[in-house]
């Protein structure tokens, strides 16, 4: 059933994302062309038009970011709590499966954005050297420590950074989902209760985060890395990132589970 749910999620959500990516990728060479011709334009009106067309690139990028980060929230609301919720919530599927399929689709969305957005930027600049220069940059960075760090260590570092960023994004996304679900479990004042839910959930996770940092510092892991190791020992940084990434992943799973529990036990589609 999980596979079918993921397929259903993708079918329902892919069109705006695909459209946004296509617009961005099609416009990126146009932007580059505009940047090339702008210095040679003498007519003020045409020059103004070219500037406006170049500014449109900013709005296209903002639009893509909106589709990547805001559309999933809107889709969650529409397909769980608006008219489409009458279909979603009567499917013969466990609530946990629905939530997991949404979370997996969110992850796929973020990964696709991490691939497409930088690539479109490279097309707009007609400069793909970053893909080649990243390796040189990392090599110079490690040489500055006076020692060669193994490629495995560097790759681990990059992967852990990616996991932390991805998990943090998932936490933000699913805190909103949980808050919205909380608000809609009430018969009245749904929006107000959604705001209350957001505040409560945010505070809870802040408290958990503070406790986590306290435990880290008491065990000496954080102090060793932050004060002594982070600058000079990339392996110690990897250890720290590993702990952080585990915490972030568990927190994101907690947000997803909280949302699922509220939907399963407090669904109130009036």
């Amino acid at each position: 059933m999980l596979g079918k749910c993921i397929k259903n999620e993708i079918v329902n959500r892919y069109k705006p994302l695909l459209l946004a990516y296509i617009v961005q990728l099609v416009y990126s060479p146009i932007y580059h062309m505009l940047a090339q011709i702008q210095p040679h334009i003498t007519n003020n009106y045409i020059g103004m038009l070219v500037i406006l067309l170049r500014i449109m690139w900013v709005f296209i990028n903002l639009g893509v970011l909106g589709v990547v980060f805001i559309y999933p929230l809107v889709d969650f609301r529409n397909r769980m709590f608006k008219d489409q919720g009458y279909l979603t919530n009567t499917l013969p599927v466990k609530t946990s499966t629905l939530m997991i399929s949404r979370a997996i689709t969110d992850i796929l969305t973020y990964i696709s954005a991490a691939i497409v957005i930088p690539f479109a930027s490279c097309i707009a600049a007609m400069d793909f050297s970053i893909y080649r220069d990243v390796a040189h940059y990392i090599s110079d960075f490690t040489d500055s420590f006076g020692m060669r760090v193994s490629p495995a260590t560097i790759i681990t570092f990059i992967i852990l950074i990616g996991v932390v960023i991805l998990a943090s994004t998932m936490i933000s996304q699913w805190m909103f989902n949980a808050a919205y679900a909380f608000g809609h479990s009430f018969s009245n004042n749904k929006r107000a209760m959604s705001v209350v839910g957001m505040i409560l959930i945010y505070l809870i996770f802040q408290v958990i985060g503070v406790i986590f940092i306290y435990i880290l510092s008491e065990t000496g892991i954080a102090s060793e890395v932050v004060f002594n190791g982070l600058d000079n020992n990339i392996k110690a940084a990897n250890n720290f990132l590993a702990i952080i990434s585990v915490f972030e992943v568990i927190s994101s799973i907690g947000c997803i589970a909280l949302t699922g529990w509220i939907v399963k036990n407090k669904l109130n589609l009036e």
Partner: protein, 233 residues
């Protein structure tokens, strides 16, 4: 016939001010077309939503086919709400594929055949259909399942008389006779001829649950006339 649905001591309220059901008890048999009749606000839709799993009762128990309401009962319950509940940006074929994926009892060929009779193509986008055709497509999808319980919430409200005849004909000719249909409506005269049993709901209470023919013979009136007497303002 065994009881398909058992509702026992169910209570439901919306907030503190609106008590919908207090100690509701109801049993529905298999193989029957049952009319859930009552004025607006009597609790018909709330009852149907609890059976469909969209609302949880505050107290009591609801079982369908011997199981509590959940994914297993949703697999044997086919629900048609009184609103458009499909993603309107999808094509008809996407919707059919989704029903085929999730419901083992869905008859794809029957669904496409009925849509073909309405000249609805699989490549059409749902949004582009007329309001009447949207409602018909939703009904076709629901009635193309071999479900044990069909829950139809106001299926003929807001449609023209010709469409009503089509909807009623579709219901009669396509439902699985081993199952039951629970139709909620307040347009009784259009629907009473197809009903086996009737349930009158008044302010959250079951005031009548009887075989339709027996009721008509006892009172010497149509169900519509009896309804007007019972719910006279």
């Amino acid at each position: 016939m065994s009881n398909l649905v058992e509702i026992s001591q169910v209570e439901k309220e919306y907030g503190r001010k609106k008590q919908v059901f207090t100690n509701l008890n109801l049993s529905l048999e298999s193989g029957k077309i049952i009319g859930l009749l009552g004025p607006n606000g009597s609790g018909k839709t709330t009852l149907i939503k609890m059976l469909a799993g969209l609302l949880k009762q505050d107290a009591g128990e609801i079982t369908i086919n011997g199981q509590k309401v959940g994914p297993d009962t949703k697999a044997v319950v086919s629900y048609l709400p009184e609103r458009t509940y499909f993603n309107e940006s999808l094509k008809i074929k996407n919707l059919v594929n989704m029903f085929k994926d999730f419901y083992a009892d869905f008859d794809e060929a029957r669904a496409y055949h009925m849509m073909e009779l309405l000249k609805i193509e699989p490549e059409m986008v749902f949004k582009k259909l007329s309001k009447g055709n949207k409602e018909k497509v939703q009904l076709i999808m629901v009635m193309s399942r071999r479900a044990k319980l069909y829950l139809l919430d106001e299926p003929i409200a807001g449609v023209d008389p010709a469409a009503r005849d089509y909807i009623l004909q579709t219901i009669i000719t396509n439902y699985d006779t081993q199952g039951s249909i629970l139709i909620s409506t307040h347009l009784i005269s259009d629907i009473e001829n197809i009903l086996d049993d009737v349930i009158f709901v008044k302010e959250g209470n079951i005031v009548c649950h009887q075989n339709a023919d027996t009721l008509r013979n006892e009172k010497g009136q149509s169900v519509d006339e009896i309804f007007r007497e019972v719910f006279r303002c």
